[in-house]
């Protein structure tokens, strides 16, 4: 249960993910996630990993590369293709005191474990008092031309289930700090990584193995006066880009990164609306009964007196994420769409 000494140089088998940082010490989102897993496994030997192809292969996205050599097959478990039982295994071992972190090869395949997730994992503690410190993680999201079965944003389904905290980080440092918090949390947590961000975004991340980010705390990523853009995940990056562009045009947009979608940090959201009086909610999850709907409804109910314009929503339609670039681009909210929506709101 001690923290491993940092090994310099490129990470290989059994070497720390920190070795995969850039030369100036920055970590991609993917490496930050690997660091969080590694450090928590060093810290607490109740933590173990399970999932398809995470051991010998190091995971479809190589998040757990090198883990098998360092932690051995008792703590890095390659499983059969049986998602219901991946979840059941996590639950049963958590009941016996372990702290499992299960990887879904893609978040899309969480639907294959849906019953154990929503019927057992989400409801067991309320009915029995037995804590289930289980983390389910996996790559979600689109924008990488991976079509319907490798692009889903399942957060609305699981945020609705109740009893599972749902985290969707947008930045490496958040991903690291939030995943560590998730693993230390005594409740079930779903940790949805975004595959479009994995290798695209990098930044410095904390070295202190006890540096945590709090769950259910949103963060204002960019201060602004005219319009609040409430969003999370990959859309944070699109929103920031749109806000930059609009700054030059004299429109000041605030960008709030929810980070955790359930339970929601209503306070930070509402405080932003109090300031700007205008809200644009952007989500990559489908529009109808999506996270955006919840955020918009919350603002409409609780910040009504502050609103100078309708609460606008920007989300994809509820249909399978299409493959063709022309279709996927039309499907996902783009920087230009966000810009237009902000302009429209600020002109209200």
């Amino acid at each position: 249960m001690t923290t491993a000494t940092v090994e310099a140089g490129a990470a290989g088998h059994g070497a720390e993910p920190r070795g995969k940082r850039t030369e100036d010490g920055q970590a991609t989102y993917l490496v930050a996630i690997a660091e969080a897993l590694w450090e928590e496994m060093e810290r607490d030997d109740r933590v173990y990993l399970l999932g398809e192809d995470i051991g010998v292969y190091g995971g479809a996205f190589k998040v757990t590369e090198g883990f098998l050599d360092r932690f051995g097959p008792d703590r890095v478990i390659d499983t059969p293709i049986a998602e219901e039982t991946i979840v059941g295994m996590a639950v049963g071992s958590a009941m016996e005191g372990f702290r499992p972190v299960a990887e879904f090869q893609y978040a899309d395949f969480m639907s294959s474990g849906f019953d154990e997730i929503t019927t057992v994992l989400a409801r067991y503690h309320y009915r029995s008092g037995v804590p289930l410190p289980v983390v389910l993680r996996g790559p979600s999201g689109g924008g990488v031309r991976a079509s319907s079965f490798h692009s889903i944003n399942p957060e609305p389904w699981f945020a609705h289930a109740g009893g599972i905290k749902v985290i969707c980080p947008a930045f490496p440092a958040d991903a690291k700090g939030l995943l560590k918090s998730a693993i230390r949390d005594d409740n079930p947590v779903m940790f949805l990584e975004h595959k479009w961000i994995y290798r695209r975004i990098k930044e410095p991340v904390p070295d202190d193995p006890d540096a945590l980010e709090p769950i259910s705390v949103a963060r204002v990523r960019r201060e602004g006066r005219d319009v609040s853009v409430i969003t999370y995940g990959a859309m944070v990056h699109k929103a920031l880009e749109a806000a930059e562009e609009l700054e030059r045009a004299g429109i000041s947009a605030e960008v709030v990164d929810l980070r955790t979608v359930y339970p929601l940090d209503e306070e930070t959201v509402l405080r932003s609306i109090e300031k700007t009086s205008r809200a644009l909610v952007v989500s990559e999850s489908y529009r109808f009964v999506g996270i955006g709907a919840e955020v918009a409804a919350t603002i409409a109910e609780k910040a009504f007196e502050h609103l100078d314009a309708p609460v606008a929503r920007l989300s994809p339609p509820n249909l399978p994420v299409p493959f063709s670039p022309t279709l996927e681009d039309a499907f996902l909210p783009q920087v230009a769409d966000i810009r237009t929506a902000i302009e429209r709101l600020s002109a209200w």
Partner: protein, 352 residues
């Protein structure tokens, strides 16, 4: 139905000391009495919610659960309350659960046999979805193996539940990892109204063990000692590192699927034959009498004790308050501390 002849009966062997044989009789008779009385209360409109009778299957339930040690865990279904009682549930709290009271194991959050006691009797709090606890048992068994602990997980489900994908996943996984788990199928010949031949295309479930490279055995669920011996063997094999096993224990569901179901789809003569010839409680009682393990007086005493315990439980349940309405959201998150604190006992009335 081609179950084997009672092994124990044939041999006239007593697999356990007399005191334990007597304890088994206690659980069998308790189960039967509880089942009958609760049904009566249900019919009188004095019991809320649902009841899922285990009558006729007491041999299966007591037999498998009695083979477990306190450190072993049990993952049952709606039908398996008798197994949970055998594993150590407190009748008082069970009854408080049926009446939705704060002293029930789920503090009123769930009802009837959707019950469990992880920190005491080490049983999983039952969920309806079939057989949703099978994959969970995999995880508990894995934990024992990983830690080198001499514990075993046992999961029970019905004949119908074997048609579900989870059943296959759990058996397969447990065999790939050679986990200390015993898979029990309570084959009571019906899944609600659906007979065996509409659920699976082979004569027995036990033979499916071969598909998982594990031992499988079919036993007569109306004879508790046969069930017990098979379960014991499987449990000890698992405990010694011998991996998973499958036990199919065959009896007949005497009552409907739930309290409302007259079960007219069960052929009358089949039911009558079972009730007349294969009553797991009566035949076992007769066996113990024949063996001289108990006297008629012992049996009467046992029965009196059971009736007393039932009345005490009933009184306890009715005296236990309803949960406080204001607590409805408590206990969802660990950090609210609800499950670590004494429950609020201000209560409320059913009228609300």
């Amino acid at each position: 139905m081609a179950t084997k002849v009672h092994r124990a009966a044939k041999a006239d062997a007593r697999p356990l000391p007399d005191e334990r044989l007597k304890e088994i009789l206690y659980f069998l008779k308790l189960a039967r009495y509880f089942d009958e009385r609760m049904e009566a209360l249900y019919r009188q409109g004095r019991l809320p919610g649902a009841i899922y009778s285990g009558r006729g299957q007491e041999g299966t339930h007591v037999g498998v659960a009695y083979a477990l040690e306190p450190g072993d865990s049990l993952f049952p279904t709606h039908r398996d309350l008798t197994a949970q009682l055998t594993k150590g549930l407190d009748l008082k709290r069970v009854m408080a659960q049926f009446w939705g009271r704060i002293d029930g194991y789920t503090r009123g959050r769930d009802g009837n046999s959707h019950i469990g006691d992880w920190y005491g009797a080490k049983t999983f709090t039952v969920m309806s979805h079939l057989p949703i606890a099978y994959p969970v048992a995999v995880g508990a068994a894995w934990a024992y193996k990983r830690r080198g602990e001499p514990h075993v997980a046992m999961a029970i489900c019905g004949d119908g539940a074997t048609s579900n994908g989870r059943w296959h996943e759990a058996l397969n996984w447990s065999a790939v990892f050679q986990l200390p788990v015993v898979w029990v199928v309570n084959n009571n010949q019906y899944a609600y109204s659906t007979p065996n031949e509409r659920e699976f295309p082979v004569p027995t479930i036990a033979e499916r063990a071969a598909a998982y490279g594990m031992p499988g055995v079919r036993v007569d669920g109306t004879y508790v000692l046969e069930v017990y011996e098979a379960a014991k063997e499987a449990v000890e094999r698992a405990r010694q590192g011998g991996g998973p096993s499958l036990i199919e224990s065959v009896s007949l569901r005497w009552r409907g699927h739930a309290g409302h179901d007259p079960a007219t789809y069960v052929p009358k003569d089949l039911l009558e034959r079972y009730m007349a010839e294969r009553d797991p409680v009566r035949t076992y009682e007769e066996q113990l009498l024949a063996w001289g393990v108990v006297t008629k007086e012992d049996v009467a005493e046992l029965q009196a004790r059971i009736e007393r315990e039932f009345e005490e439980g009933h009184e306890f349940a009715l005296a236990s308050p309803f949960p406080e309405p204001g607590d409805v959201t408590k206990g969802l998150w660990v950090e609210d501390g609800y499950w670590r604190s004494e429950p609020g006992r201000g209560g409320g009335t059913e009228a609300g």
